[in-house]
Symmetry: C2
Subunit: 314 residues, 2 copies
C-alpha cells in the first residue's frame, strides 16, 4: 500500500483504549500490510483499562491525563493522536492536549457525531484546528472494552472523514491512509451530511429500541410480556443493551438531526396507525411490501461483513 | 411421555403445509418421543406447495379444498386438524371444513392472533365451536415454506393455547399433548391476554421496523443512508423482511390491542423527544440504563434456544 508508506504512524497516542482505540492499535501493529505503530501510548479515564491494554500488549506505555510531564512526553513527536472517548469529552480532552501538541501531529477522533465534535475542536484548538481531522469508523461490537479489540475489526468497514476547510490535503490523507491500512474504506462527507445519515440509520433505531423496552417495563403485565418475547423482539432490541452513557451523549450531541428524523418517523407511524385503525389492509401491505423489498436488497448488496456476528453495537 | 400415549395423532390434516404446519408433521413423525402421524394429509392454497410437501415426504397425500369428495375423505376419522394459514382465512376455512368434520375430531390453529380467530371460529362452527382449540406456537424462521420445515423447530419453544369455555378438558389436553410431543412448552392464556402480549412483543416491533425502512425510503438521501447503515440497522430491521401479507392480516386482526400498544409507545417516544430537545442527558441515561438492564436480564434468562439463529420471523 503505497499511500501507507508515504506517512508515518510510528508514534500513536490513543485517548480511550477500548474496543475502537484498541482495535486501531492492534490493526496497525499486527496487520502485515502496514509497518507502523512502533510506539503506542494509551491514556484512559481509569487506571484499570489502560493497565489491561498494557497487559494485553495493545499499548506500550501509559500516560496520565492529570500529569503535565507525562502528557508532554507522550505527545512529543507523536505522528497521530486518536480520541476514542465519548463525544462529550472531545472539548475538554482537546483543551488538555493543546499545550503539548507538536505542530506536525495530526489529531483525529472516532466519535459517532461530527457537527458537535467540529464545534468542540474549533473552541479548543482555535487557529490550530487544521491539525484536527474529524472521523468516524463505522464499526462496533456488542462487547466493548480493550478485551474485545480485534486487529481485523475494520476490515471491510466504512470510515467517514469530515474534513475541515482548515485541514491540508496532506493531513486528511494521513488519516485516510491510516484507516485504509486497517482494511477500511474511507469516505468523505460534510459534518451535517454525516449527522443526518447516522441520525437516521443508527441513532434513531437506538432510541426506538430503548423505547420499546422502556414501554414494556412501564406496562402492568411486563413480566408476562418479557416471558413470551421471542426472536423478533430479540433482534429489534439487541441495541437496547448498548452503553447508556454513549447513547445519552450521542442523542444530546446530534439533537438537531435526531429530532428531524424522529419527527419524520413519528409521521410515518401516524400514517400506519390510521391504516390500522381503518383496517386498511391494502395501505399496510403496500408499505410492508416496499420495506421488505428495500431491506432484502440492502442485505443482498451488503453481503456478509467479516464480523457479521459481532457488529451489532453501531 | 404418558400424556402422548393417551391421545391419538394417527391421522392429521394440515391446512397450509409451510414452515409451521410442515414442522409439526415432521416433529410428530420423526421425533422418537412420539409414535404418531401415520397419515398426514396436506391441503394448500397452491398445488406447488402441497406437491413439494409430498415430494419431501412431509405429507402422505394431498386433498383439494375445491373438491367435496376429496375433503370428505381427508377429514373422515381425522384425529386432529391444524389450520396453519394466514389468520384472515380462518373463518372461510372453517366454514368449508364444517360439513365434513367428525364429532370426535379436534381442530386447532397456529395463528398469531387469537380474539379474531375465536370470533371466526364461533361464526363458522356455531354450536360445534367446542371442537376448536385456539393455539399459537411461538416459532418462526426467516425462511418460510415447507422446505424450511424442521422436526425440531418447536423444541424449547412456547405454545400458547387459548381454551374456550366450550372446550372439554380432554380436547384441550389433546392439543397440548400434541405440542408437548414436539418438544414445546404449553401455556394457557385468554385470547385477550394473548393478543395484548403479542401486540407488545411481536406485532408492534414489526410495525416499527417496517416504518423505519419506509421512512428512509421516503427521504431524499435514501441511497446515502442505506449505504452507511450497519449492524444496528441490520438487527433492528431484520423483521422488516417478513411477509407483508401475514403482517397486514395480523395488524388488522389485532387492531385494538396493537393500537393500544402503539399509543403507549408513541407516548414513551414523546417523552424521549422532550428529553432530547431539552438536552436532558440525565433523563435519557435513566431510560437507556433501565432498558439495558431489562434487555440484558431477558437475554440471560432466555438463554440460547435450539434454533437461535433461525427464529427471527416471529
Amino acid at each position: 500500500m503505497t499511500d501507507v508508506a508515504a506517512f508515518s504512524f510510528d508514534k500513536l497516542v490513543i485517548f480511550g483504549v477500548g474496543l475502537i482505540g484498541g482495535s486501531l492499535a492492534r490493526a496497525l501493529r499486527e496487520r502485515s500490510e502496514v509497518d507502523g505503530a512502533r510506539t503506542v501510548i494509551g491514556v484512559g479515564r481509569t487506571a484499570a483499562s489502560t493497565a489491561r491494554a498494557l497487559e494485553l500488549g495493545v499499548i506500550d506505555s501509559i500516560a496520565s491525563l492529570d500529569d503535565d510531564a507525562s502528557l508532554r512526553t507522550a505527545l512529543a513527536g507523536a505522528d497521530l493522536v486518536l480520541l476514542a472517548a465519548p463525544v462529550a469529552q472531545t472539548q475538554p480532552l482537546l483543551e488538555r492536549i493543546a499545550p503539548f501538541l507538536d505542530a506536525a501531529t495530526i489529531v483525529t477522533d472516532a466519535g459517532s457525531t461530527k457537527s458537535d465534535v467540529v464545534a468542540a475542536a474549533r473552541a479548543a484548538l482555535g487557529g490550530r484546528v487544521g491539525q484536527f481531522v474529524p472521523g468516524h469508523p463505522i464499526a462496533g461490537r456488542e462487547s466493548s472494552g480493550v478485551d474485545a479489540a480485534l486487529p481485523d475489526l475494520y476490515v471491510g468497514r466504512n470510515v467517514v472523514l469530515c474534513a475541515l476547510p482548515e485541514n491540508t490535503p496532506a493531513a486528511v490523507e494521513h488519516v485516510a491512509a491510516m484507516w485504509r491500512a486497517t482494511g477500511a474504506s474511507v469516505h468523505e462527507m460534510t459534518p451535517e451530511q454525516h449527522d443526518r445519515v447516522f441520525a437516521s440509520v443508527s441513532h434513531l433505531p437506538h432510541v426506538l429500541s430503548f423505547a420499546l423496552v422502556e414501554q414494556i417495563l412501564n406496562s402492568p403485565d411486563a413480566a408476562l410480556k418479557f416471558s413470551f418475547a421471542a426472536g423478533g423482539f430479540r433482534d429489534f432490541t439487541r441495541i437496547a443493551a448498548s452503553s447508556p452513557e454513549m447513547w445519552r451523549d450521542v442523542c444530546v450531541a446530534n439533537r438537531v438531526a435526531l429530532l428531524d428524523e424522529l419527527d419524520a418517523y413519528t409521521a410515518v407511524l401516524a400514517r400506519l396507525r390510521a391504516a390500522i385503525e381503518a383496517s386498511d389492509g391494502a395501505a399496510l401491505e403496500a408499505v410492508f411490501a416496499r420495506s421488505r423489498v428495500a431491506r432484502t436488497e440492502w442485505q443482498a448488496q451488503r453481503g456478509t461483513p467479516a464480523n457479521a456476528a459481532g457488529d451489532a453495537a453501531k
